[in-house]
Symmetry: C2
Subunit: 153 residues, 2 copies
């Protein structure tokens, strides 16, 4: 059983994204033990500039992250792109993975520099809610690939 | 109002994908008139090799496609990748767009060669159900970008 942590900002607001996540978490439970750390998003206001929001969110992320070991993967639109097979190969040796998905503004440099891998899912910009669901689907796909099981898509 | 056609194989099986599609179709209705042509998937069996399945599916697609004009965009994992902003720029001049999403085996060459653009959403392989939802979200995002409207993600 691989241990997977997800550190993310805010909840999945729409019911269909929550149900999509639940479906993939259910499928992933055959391969992994998953813990989701849903941190509170900072809101925009006079005192909270985008820079300060990212810093405050980074402090919360780092407080969880410092207790983690294993492979740390930060989702970052400027990160590296992988084919599904190469991604499966990348996570294959890991006994523990921590994924980090930032809020709408992305992740602060202080978090990015700690990550072992900065991962981009696409050249396109996705909502951070979609990123969460796509990431679970790709992780499930990776587990299926790594255990030589067929996955109809 | 931009006219958008989607030609695709099979239905969205999971309720959460149907609800996600409905949400984006609702949002897109402010900008566009959409028609979805859901064609019947061919099933694997002794008589239906992957090559024959793709050909049979292509015949069905082409029978709809020959009635279409405007910009024809085929989703293809070996296609071109765009940033969301470049994609918005690409579809901006079009009064009519036809998107084509193949089945699990992808699209036959006879369909791909007719397309004005072969579009890849990611280096990763997504399910064709996810592709459909992501495509609507990116099309909605493009419409928001092209009308200079803010879209929180």
């Amino acid at each position: 059983m691989i241990h997977i942590n997800l550190i993310c900002l805010g909840k999945l607001k729409e019911k269909f994204w929550r149900e999509a996540e639940n479906e993939y978490l259910k499928r992933l439970s055959a391969f992994s033990k998953i813990k989701i750390h849903e941190l509170k998003e900072e809101s925009f206001n006079e005192k909270n500039s985008p820079k300060i929001i990212k810093q405050k969110e980074a402090e919360k992320i780092l407080s969880i992250l410092k207790k983690q070991d294993g492979l740390i993967i930060a989702l970052d639109e400027h990160g590296q792109q992988f084919s599904s097979i190469a991604f499966a190969e990348k996570i294959k040796p890991a006994g523990k993975i921590t994924f980090i998905i930032g809020g709408p503004l992305g992740l602060d440099e202080s978090v990015l520099k700690i990550a072992n891998l900065k991962l981009s899912l696409s050249s396109m910009t996705f909502t951070h809610q979609m990123v969460r669901v796509i990431l679970w689907e790709q992780t499930y796909r990776a587990m299926m690939i790594n255990s030589n099981r067929k996955y109809h898509y």
